[in-house]
Amino acid sequence: MAQLLGNPIAREKPERPEKLEQPLRNPWGKEIRKSWPLYLMCLPALVFVLIFAYGPMAGLVMAFQDYKPWLGMTGSAWIGMDNFARIFQYEESTQAIINTLIIADCKIVIGIIVPIFMAILLSEIRNVGVKKSIQTLVYLPHFLSWVTVAGMMIDILGLDGGINHFLASVFGTKPIFFLGDPELFRPTVIISDLWKNFGFSMIVYLATITGIDPSYYEAAEIDGATRRQQIRHVTLPSMLPMIIVIATLSLGSILDAGFDQIFNLYNPLVYSTGDIIDTYVYRSSLLNGQYGFGTAVGLFKSGISLVLIVISYRIAYKLANYKIF
């Protein structure tokens, strides 16, 4: 959802007027006397953030320790970068990183292309009632939890589930083990993620298409452009700034393969292709007690993500004048 923040299609790039408009700064004493209610109103949020967001960041020191719960962070031995070195020694963790990259990349690419395509198709529906009904239905899965969706998938995709039943009766195929076959697990995960989220991702594109000036189409029409040419030369170029912003910002989720989904769908049969960084952290640390190592894997992931997010925001700002706040 974070991608919807800000205003990606700001038309003119302001010449940094903020600096000029800013009023002269009051000295702190005077400012506090005048604006103390505002400081007070920020306080609850600040307290929450310091404890529950910055507090765990302090706990990142565990990544450099052989952390033992009974010794605590002050008593555990410091082992430098050993935990990080182990990430690439263990076959399981390197595999998890590879799986994460593959699954996340496929999700990002398909999750950008399909919603664009669907938004264009949907905007060709002229019957308002039908259009609204379709929108209502396709947005719905986004709001279901992955537990619910996984529950339905386990039933429908099971060996004796609806899909296999259907395939067997129509094509006479043998039952396919979608969630237990390492080769099929990744496609199953990627497609089900698409099913759940394409509708919601489509909203921004639909809004962009609605905002296109109709006179462009009229002009194209007069010049004898077919509908396909109109889509190619009017609709798509108009959507381009939005597409660039969303594609750029998705760079930050390149190591995020979707913990909620994988955790609820995977099982030991598909660890080789389906185990991702987040599920691996959970198993190696909370189930096997390797807290320091788990923290290191987590930090490895969030550190790289941070760098990517910062880069992507800079690019998005340069290309489309996009700002978070």
Binding site: S35, A45, F48, F52, V147, D155
Partner: protein, 289 residues
């Protein structure tokens, strides 16, 4: 006049059919679930149910509601949703109002808040923190850690920024304080925006399952989503080791279907309200100054 060409008409027909099929695919799994939940056990296990109940009965629902584990975790879910949403809204609206104004240090504060969207301590440090604070196994572990959300803060802040400054200036002249203006002008005027964000937070709480599994060592303290996760997903992972027929005999699909459906019902019920606002709300929240 592209609408009149033969080629476009053919495309339009296929387009309608395709999109209606896609839309149905988003809805039919839920209908299938509902049909299963009202069908007899043997009919469900024999794969006779598609989208209409076979041998209609309400046994699964009676069983579900007489299961004290289920009703207990439902109560926990309701409590955490109400309490969590109230705390979140308080924290976010107050800060959102303040940050929609100009004051010294505002940008520094804003960066402190926004940085939490870019980086986090991760799973293990959060777990250790909650344990150290003594919040483990209490309801607070489900309510407090997520109470502040930078994304929601920015949305609300942008809503507040759309309220005309003249209103505030007039109120200042009449002797109103920042608090009075916040309560009497900003909150009432941004009610649609607040409702949207509030609903999102509620849905988030209701659907949240991992914190329950992480922080509650006793399954009796699980919220509904976590309870459902153990019933639906974990039991399945265990039965993966068995043969298909054994697994089918063991699992009570109609009961599971009823439990999933009841847990999802609140989301489906608020969905129309959610949908009315979220498209508009997100677009509106994105407009600045």
């Amino acid at each position: 006049m592209y609408h009149k060409t033969g080629g476009y008409k053919v495309f339009a027909v296929f387009n309608y059919i395709f999109l209606i099929l896609v839309a149905l695919s988003c809805f039919l799994p839920l209908l299938h679930l509902l049909a299963q939940s009202f069908s007899s056990k043997s009919a469900v296990n024999g794969n006779l149910v598609t989208f209409w109940p076979v041998e209609f009965n309400t046994d699964s629902y009676r069983k579900t509601f007489s299961n004290s584990n289920f009703t207990g975790s439902m109560l926990i879910s309701v409590t955490r949703t109400v309490l969590g949403t109230a705390i979140s809204m308080f924290v976010i609206t107050t800060a959102g109002y303040a940050l929609s104004k100009e004051f010294r240090g505002r940008n520094a504060l804003m960066w402190i808040f926004v940085f939490t969207m870019l980086f986090s301590g991760g799973l293990i440090p959060s777990y250790i923190l909650i344990t150290t604070l003594g919040l483990k196994d209490t309801l607070w572990s489900l309510v407090l850690p997520g109470a502040f959300g930078a994304y929601n803060l920015i949305l609300i802040m942008n809503f507040f920024k759309t309220i005309p400054k003249a209103l505030e200036e007039a109120a200042f002249i009449d002797g109103a304080s920042f608090f009075g203006i916040f309560r009497k002008i900003y909150l009432p005027l941004s009610l649609p925006g607040l409702a949207t964000v509030g609903l999102f937070i509620m849905v988030g709480h209701w659907n949240s399952w991992f914190d329950g599994i992480l922080y509650m060592s006793d399954t009796n303290k699980y919220p509904l989503a976590s309870f459902l996760q153990t019933v639906v997903v974990q039991s399945n992972a265990q039965s993966m080791a068995l043969s298909a027929s054994e697994a089918a005999a063991l699992s009570e699909k109609s009961l599971k279907a009823a439990q999933i459906f009841i847990s999802t019902l609140p989301i489906i019920l608020v969905y129309p309200f959610l949908q009315r606002y979220f498209v508009k709300g997100i677009v509106l929240g994105a407009v600045k100054e």
